[in-house]
Symmetry: C2
Subunit: 229 residues, 2 copies
Amino acid sequence: MTSALPRPNLAIGAYRHLKRDIIRGVYAPGEKLRMSDLKTRYDLGVGPMREALSQLVSERLVTAVSQRGYRVAEMSIKELEDLYDARAQLEGLVLELAIARGGDDWEAQILAKAHALSKVVEVHSADDMLDIWDARHQAFHGAIAAGCDSPHLLQTRAWLFDQAERYRHLWLCQTVFSAEALDAKRHEHAALTDAILARDAATACTMMREHLMTPVPIIKEVLREQGLV
Amino acid sequence: MTSALPRPNLAIGAYRHLKRDIIRGVYAPGEKLRMSDLKTRYDLGVGPMREALSQLVSERLVTAVSQRGYRVAEMSIKELEDLYDARAQLEGLVLELAIARGGDDWEAQILAKAHALSKVVEVHSADDMLDIWDARHQAFHGAIAAGCDSPHLLQTRAWLFDQAERYRHLWLCQTVFSAEALDAKRHEHAALTDAILARDAATACTMMREHLMTPVPIIKEVLREQGLV
DNA sequence: CCTCTAAAAAATATCTATATTTTTATAAAA
DNA sequence: TTTTATAAAAATATAGATATTTTTTAGAGG
């Protein structure tokens, strides 16, 4: 049937796998990605691997120089600071629009996602805890942003999120396994939800911008400790 | 010398050329891009062509379905409206930050670019006129945006610009060859510059958002006339 | 006329071979 | 010791061959 989606080709799988590995820090910033190693690790040939790398170049997670190969993109304190500032500013804009444009359903969704997020207190295995908490955390923030009712703004937001994900991962590893940090987050999320439901745009946007900047000093510390910059 | 940049590979040239063709409307929205045709037109083999397409897929100018090939991304009135709304909102945010963060040099640059833009009145050949005016127009708006002092916000701005470029091209073709339209633009740009130099953020941002929306009805008309949607 | 089936043609995706470029190792000269 | 040159090894990029999938065409049956 021509209407059913065919099986994803090899490049798609390699793209997903390599992207995940980059975000999780399997490769160091600036590390050379040699085709002979990639072919083995991701179990495919040169053609599809180059396709996957081409996409990651477009997404700025990988840098390419003709005849010199591919490298994982660098990280820096300066980039971290600008990236998080940009994200905070954009999230403030998106929230302001959401408060202006979002309806009752939007509010209901926020409450539902906030509830699910606050329920993550049980101790699981390391990877499970990180994935579960973050999935719910993203769903919470995603529900808030969705009220802006602009696919392109959300796309733009996702782009910055993608750029930030390597940095975020460092922060996640510090946060998700600390009951104290999770508790602080829980309080921030609750206060944020209150301001949003009160439709207090000025307060909510200020809180949101500040909320988004809280990981920055933590990430800086980790970057230095791990000698990543 | 390893420090000199090597010659760009075939994929890079194909990417640039195909992207330009898509933006200029050489292909219809949704049109199938067959590899046999692409190989001939852009004079290269399957491998590099697939690499170029992979990048354009990441940039959303091309859609891909495994085993079914590649198509130029669709266009729609709905997308146009959301895209321009998103751009206007983001440009407002960027301008607000620029007014807060930009210095004297920033003001000087705006004046210089505004001047160069206003000087495009001479009649040139069709392609020259379009390219010259648009280069100066982009430089003018780019100079304004640069004051936000955030590479990532500017990257985000560029992303939306890229998405909009196909639509913009339709508007450009209507505007650049009309003395009346150019005159109206000249007045808008002058008023905008005045508000910015006066550091009147509220007025400037409102004007900017409105300024960015002015092409929308024109583009809608063109889309309908040309049966593109 | 429409629908279904099978075969042929066309298109897609990937591997392999190969030409080209870069990097590395080594030896010689300063 | 450092620098330069050269050869060998490794890496990069691409064309062409080929297996697989999809689309088109033709013919038969209702």
